[in-house]
């Protein structure tokens, strides 16, 4: 879209892009001005020294006549007078007579016999191949315009007159010519008008029409006179001017009959001072067979124009340069197909750029743009240097950069949009993670907070219990619980919800609460019945089809009888200090809760020996893995317990040692599952609870360990200290 618009602009609106185009052409000329090889034209300059010697301008035409005579004496090919003399010479004797009033009659007679200055100049000009200047005027002047016969030849149309009428050649309403006496003796009449554009002379009309009469430029006329041709020929192709033929030579022009001067830098060799000519100090060879221009260059007189090569030049030098161009055929040409080629090149490069930009890295697209511009500029300059063709590289380049800019903006906008959407996704992800983390944190806190503390049992010499649960990276579903049913009986439970995450932990919380309520509801709980009841309760609301393994037991603290039921849980360990060593409790079992509806669980019983240690773990312990993928296994666990058997230690120490051993084995590997350890030592039916201590919830021993290892024992210094503290309250 943009490309089409810009391409059309290049072709159809040359005026709009003219300043840029002309600046490029000027730059080409300034960079590579014409090298002067021949100097067919010489300017006889009425310069500062001449004016200093012969008086201020205007000179009497008698003096001009002498100058013309002297130049003509050297034998120039043509003599152009770049001076307009529209009025009779005011310094002519008869003119002086008129306004100076009467003098002596004899003098009058004498003076009357003198020829007028205009007549003197006319006589001199008539002897020379003189070409006089004509200026075009925007209004009628009433002066008769002399011009050589102009043949109009149209290569395309049947009627040359139609072509001419349609041609966009420069047209003036009137002409400013020299006085008739002078004008009529000349052999040629050439136009000296040229419109500077932006103060710079670049083009000169080689042909113009003044009030219906065709006239050539001064340079063209000098060429014609020098060539001895009697007529000029305007060659048209329809409304397009192809050129002007002088004799057999065709000077090509642009469509409107104008020509672009290829300027060289100023050259002093083009000038001869009129003073030197008048004082006969000029070698006639300097002027022989030359195209001589007589012009006023003195300071403040005559026009001075800026040129593309950056130097200001008097009009006469511009004429001289044009003559040099005509002489060696070095006129610049702006081909009519130029704009089309420029637009096409631009469209091609722009399309390449558009195709390339999304596919390539922006850096490469930049190279395409820069490369495109470089190609345009280089080819434009090359065409100028080698063919003197004016190919506008600047406008397509600018248009190309414009397209690149637009693409860059578009790409940038796209990239920004993409980045924003990525940021949004990232933000949403973060929020989501934070929410999940928040939920997990909350769940973990709830999960940990729900676990009972050993000290809640109060000091009891019959019992030493410790438990710990280390959640895995994500909250899991391990649970443990213990509470007194009465003074004699302790209920405890270790469970594991199969699955991970929030649902498992919530399910665990629900299971634990259901268990407790089911246990407390029963008058004389039987573990099998209890498990079946729990199974029914937990299964009732289990949308995620989770299942729970659980080992539940009731210990009679006086008798050491342990009633238990194992619902698919890791078999607990027994460490008998005097008996067979480390044993597993394997009976009283059934499938995990929720796995089989209405399963008839049956409990079992066993008799503990005083000092015997029970250890119930979750599969997070036995299935802990090291970085090599090996399982911790029940054998390692049994070994740890066996070491403790040699010198019985507190339950808290058993838990801590076991957790340390598992952590040591995992060697930094991320735990896949929660780790739960519950250790319980029955100390025998000794003294029973210390008076006044039962039911107190003072902390007995507090571990700094995360996850909370709590121990309750009555055989340590801590308890002793606590007892004292308790006693002091």
């Amino acid at each position: 879209m943009l490309v089409t618009a810009l391409a059309l602009l290049i072709v159809l609106a040359p005026r709009l892009t003219a300043p840029l185009r002309e600046a490029w052409f000027d730059a080409c000329q300034a960079l590579s001005p014409r090298v002067v090889t021949a100097m067919p034209a010489v300017v006889v300059a009425i310069d500062g020294p001449s004016l200093a010697a012969f008086g201020r301008w205007p000179w009497p035409r008698s003096l001009l006549a002498e100058l013309v005579d002297r130049v003509n004496g050297a034998g120039p090919a043509a003599l152009g007078i770049d001076i307009l003399m529209p009025e009779p010479d005011p310094l002519s004797p008869e003119e002086l007579r008129q306004w100076r009033g009467a003098g002596p009659p004899a003098r009058h007679r004498e003076q009357a016999e003198w020829p007028t200055n205009d007549a003197l100049l006319a006589r001199a000009l008539a002897a020379a191949p003189a070409v006089l200047a004509v200026a075009g005027l925007p209004e009628r002047s009433g002066r008769s315009l002399r011009s050589p016969p102009f043949v109009v030849q149209d290569r395309a149309a049947a009627s040359a007159a139609d072509g001419l009428a349609a041609a966009r050649i420069e047209r003036f309403a009137g002409a400013l010519t020299s006085v008739d006496a002078v004008d009529r003796v000349a052999r040629g009449w050439g136009l000296v008008s040229a419109d500077p554009v932006g103060g710079v002379i670049r083009r000169v009309p080689l042909v113009a029409e003044i009030d219906g009469t065709l006239i050539g430029a001064l340079a063209i006329e000098m060429f014609r006179v020098a060539a001895g041709a009697t007529s000029l020929r305007l060659v048209l192709s329809g409304p397009t001017v192809d050129g002007i033929a002088v004799g057999r030579a065709l000077v090509p022009t642009e469509a409107d009959g104008g020509a672009r001067v290829y300027f060289s830098r100023r050259h002093a060799g083009r000038f001869v001072s009129a003073l030197d000519v008048l004082e006969d100090r000029v070698d006639p060879e300097r002027l022989r067979q030359k195209l001589v221009l007589v012009a006023v260059t003195g300071l403040g007189l005559g026009e001075v124009h800026a040129t593309p090569v950056g130097e200001r030049m008097p009009g006469s030098e511009i004429h001289a340069q044009l003559l040099e161009n005509l002489y060696d055929g070095t006129l610049l040409s702006r081909p009519s197909w130029g704009p089309v080629l420029e637009a096409a090149l631009f469209a091609l490069l722009a399309t390449l750029l558009i195709v390339a930009t999304p596919a390539w890295a922006p850096r490469h697209a930049l190279w395409v743009a820069v490369g495109g511009v470089a190609i345009l500029l280089a080819s434009g300059y090359a065409a100028f240097r080698t063919q003197r063709l004016l190919f506008d590289a600047a406008t397509p380049s600018l248009a190309l950069l414009l397209v690149f800019g637009a693409l860059l903006v578009a790409t940038l906008a796209e990239a920004t949009r993409h980045r924003r959407s990525l940021e949004q996704v990232l933000q949403r992800q973060r929020e989501h993670n934070a929410r999940i983390a928040g939920e997990l944190d909350a769940a973990r806190r709830i999960q940990t907070a729900m676990l009972p503390r050993a000290e809640s049992l109060g000091p009891d010499r019959r019992l030493d219990l410790a438990a710990a649960m280390l959640p895995a990276r994500e909250v899991g579903g391990d649970l443990y619980d213990f509470f007194r049913l009465d003074e004699r009986r302790l209920f405890f439970l270790v469970g594991d919800v199969a699955g991970k995450g929030l649902s498992a932990s919530i399910f665990m919380a629900v299971s634990k609460a259901l268990y407790k309520s089911a246990t407390l509801r029963m008058e004389t709980p039987d573990l099998g019945t209890l498990m079946a009841a729990a199974n029914a309760e937990v299964s009732r609301d289990n949308p995620e089809a989770l299942f729970v393994t659980a080992f539940a037991a009731i210990l009679d603290l006086d008798s050491g009888t342990l009633a238990y039921c194992n619902a698919g849980h890791e078999n607990p360990f027994r460490v008998d200090p005097v008996g067979a060593g480390v044993l597993r409790i394997t009976d009283g079992d059934g499938p995990p809760l929720c796995a089989v509806d209405a399963f008839a669980y049956r409990g079992a019983r066993l008799q503990l020996e005083p000092g015997e240690l029970l250890c119930v773990v979750s599969d997070g312990v036995t299935e802990a893995r090291n970085p090599g993928g090996d399982l911790y296994g029940s054998a390692r666990l049994a070994a740890v317990l066996h070491r403790g058997r040699e010198a019985p230690v507190a339950a808290g120490a058993v838990v801590a040692t076991l957790l340390a051993d598992v952590a040591n084995f995992a060697a930094g590997a991320e735990p896949a599952d929660d780790i739960t350890v519950l250790a319980l030592r029955w100390n025998g039916p000794s003294a029973g609870p210390a008076p006044g201590q039962v039911g107190r919830s003072e902390p007995v021993k507090k571990s700094s360990r995360a996850g909370g290892v709590q121990g309750a024992n009555d055989a340590t210094d801590e308890t002793y200290l606590l007892d004292r503290r308790g006693g002091s309250e």
């Binding site: 699955g499 299942f547 393994t549 619902a567 995990p592 599969d619």
Partner: protein, 130 residues
């Protein structure tokens, strides 16, 4: 996880390979769901051949439990065969022989579940790969 399926008459045999844990349980569940859910084409029996299963985590057990419940609900049989020692221990610990039937080998399981399937197993020409 790679899961091979074979059909013997009205019994489908599913044989997963590798570890059955967090990473693969969903895959097995996807394979099992159409087999266990009631439909006209649903098999009368499902046998899980665990001959090449190295390990089953609790998440894996959950998939088996769900399958077992679905099968039991529609009166179909489900069994697992060929337990490796590690997996057998896991089954023992979890008491999963209460959840689904455990057999030592496929023919035994097929014989217990369906005479037609056992017959089809006996004559390879009738067995079809599904």
């Amino acid at each position: 996880m790679e899961v091979a399926r074979r059909r013997f008459a009205d019994v489908v045999v599913v044989a997963p390979v590798g570890r059955l844990d967090h990473g693969s349980a969903d895959e097995l569940e996807r394979v099992l769901r159409p087999l266990v859910e009631p439909s006209g084409d649903a098999p009368a029996g499902l046998v899980l051949d665990f001959g090449r299963v190295d390990y089953v985590s609790s998440v894996g057990l959950r998939v088996l439990m769900i399958a077992a419940k679905e099968m039991r609900r529609r009166g179909a049989r489900i069994a697992v065969v060929g337990l490796q020692p590690v997996v057998a221990e896991i089954f023992a610990i979890s008491r999963f022989h209460s959840v689904l039937d455990v057999f030592d080998a496929l023919p035994t399981a097929l014989k217990a579940i369906s005479a037609a399937a056992a017959a089809a197993y006996g004559s390879p020409a009738v067995s079809t790969s599904t």
